[in-house]
Symmetry: C2
Subunit: 344 residues, 2 copies
């Protein structure tokens, strides 16, 4: 803005120290004096400079967030939950996308110089830099990453849900499965899903790499798979976007889903509900993940808590029609209670 504490002080006929005290309620101020100050503040439309305050207080009142891309709804939802709670706690949110960026290190360091703590997705920040940040006492919360020391981690449950999904599919009588996902080393979450389905299906399932978690890559990989001999009866996808790609591939090859092939996703993004057949998937509490991250960060920053914590949130299996018919449950699984307008 423009008007400084000096002008307020002058107008109120007091010192800047008094103005500061009056405004933040630290230290004693005579009632009459406070009034004068408030009046001057009002008249001048004074707002303390963030820079000044931060410099003096040694904190930014801002949180960072680092994500690979915002393309899918997953990151967006987390971001929304994060921003909402951060804002409630009086902290701004500075974002950083790493997608297609060279010099990620510099960008992250720059961000670190603007915030008191940050939320980082998975492995978007190189390990050595993470260590450096921990050393610099930057408060960190990771989402979708295996626990590490010196930082909080937050995730939703994967293994058990994946197992439940696999069992559901096995219950349909399928016997040949495929798992579609990007190189699992890059995403701890996806690796857990793979472990979960594998534990149930054993040798009946094979993993296929898509390069990325996108509709395009899902399409390519599924097409290759479906053209081969010994085509799988069910494709379990690492996320909804890959699954949407698989659906398109099946359509192109004239295969009916779920008649000839079952397909499942993960996340329950908006398009999952509107695809036809509607996608069977696993719903993650994305907004809640973001909200908790903001709260966790606040605790670490304010010093309300010092020890790192590792949380895991429950997920929900969402059965729709892409995995096969469910005669005894309901004639049309896509219209089950709560769908399509269940509150979030």
């Amino acid at each position: 803005m423009d008007v400084t504490i000096y002008e307020v002080a002058q107008r109120a006929g007091v010192s800047i120290a008094t103005v500061s005290r009056a405004l933040r309620g630290t230290g004693p101020v005579a009632a009459r004096t406070r009034e004068k100050v408030l009046k001057a503040v009002e008249e001048l439309n004074f707002t303390p400079s963030h820079l000044g305050v931060s410099l003096a207080e040694g904190r930014h009142a801002a949180n960072g967030i680092v994500f690979p891309d915002l393309a899918g709804p997953y990151y967006t939802e987390v971001l929304l939950g994060y921003e909402e709670v951060a804002s409630e706690l009086g902290r701004s949110v500075v974002i950083l996308s790493t997608k297609g960026r060279s010099r990620v290190n510099d960008l992250v360091k720059d961000l670190a110089g603007r915030v008191d703590g940050m939320l980082i997705f998975g492995h978007t920040v190189p390990e050595p830099l993470v260590a450096e940040l921990v050393l610099l006492r930057m408060r960190l919360v990771f989402i979708s990453r295996d626990p590490l020391t010196g930082a909080d981690t937050l995730r939703s449950e994967n293994r058990a849900s994946a197992g439940a999904l696999a069992e559901h599919l096995a219950g349909h009588g399928y016997e040949r499965f495929a798992f579609l996902g990007a190189p699992m080393a890059s995403q701890d979450d996806v690796d857990e899903r793979w472990q979960g389905v594998r534990a149930v299906l054993g040798g009946a399932i094979e993993a296929v790499d898509t390069r990325h978690y996108t509709v395009e890559c899902g399409f390519e990989a599924a097409r290759g798979l479906l053209k081969g001999r010994r085509r799988p009866e069910a494709i379990i996808c690492s996320d909804d976007e890959v699954a949407l790609g698989a659906l398109l591939a099946a359509e192109e090859l004239g295969l009916s889903v779920p008649g000839d092939l079952a397909v499942t996703g993960w996340d329950d993004i908006m398009a999952a509900r509107h695809a036809r057949p509607a996608l069977t998937t696993v719903r993650q509490p994305m907004r809640e993940l973001g909200a908790r991250a903001a709260r966790a960060l606040d605790e670490l920053i304010t010093g309300a808590r010092h020890l790192p914590r590792h949380q895991s949130l429950p997920t929900e299996l969402v059965i729709r029609s892409s995995c096969g018919h469910h005669p005894e449950t309901s004639p049309n699984p896509d219209r089950r209670a709560g769908d399509p307008f269940r509150p979030r």
Copy 2:
């Protein structure tokens, strides 16, 4: 971070002024001296404090963005384009969502204290506050809003595209139309779309208010409309989410789309392509809008440009199957060239 310019100066055996000069290349520094400084910087892993720099320079090197919500893909895409270019230009992005917030004014003012300029969607910021921001010389760019003085505006073309869409539908032979959208006063863009279709269809189209631009509201409004007597043959929706709701309503009522009813959306979000029938819609260059906003802001902030500018970007009509069959064009309009994997 932690280490200051003083420690670097001491280690290098020079003054802080020299360190500053050496680092930013302002003013002369002897080659040997520069080396010493760089070495010290390296050893101490020094990064200048943003607060210090900003305070001294009188600028934040940060941009703000104010949006109502990030729920749909529209804002997300714009945000991505914005962040990408801002980052290229060396500016961070601070976000603010106004959805469900009381005290929006305070939040926006706070944001204004952290950035050099901001991108604002439509009418998310109350008019008096906008005026105040202009007065405070905050650089502003609006997206999806009628031009105003003292700020840039940026939008994609609406009227002509809406007209083209209406003509296409009329070409199918439909005669009774409905337009589904929220109160048009709240969204200049949507109002223009309404004007555009209306200019072509005249009395053959009636407007119906949904309360918000959501799947839920689209569903409710469409259901009401379709249950009434004199049901429309085609529903033109203000955006894709409303259209998805309309699709669900038709499904619930046992109406086939496009057989019994045509439906169109706007934006071409991901779900539009995957819905069945796939949505005929109008594609906005959302990322490009964001990118241009960032560039415009940069020009205003650096002083490369002083006069406000008002840009309008072209859109693209995307014909899919929800608006009716297109025998002569292609047997399956959903598979036309470029779909589903046209590059962005």
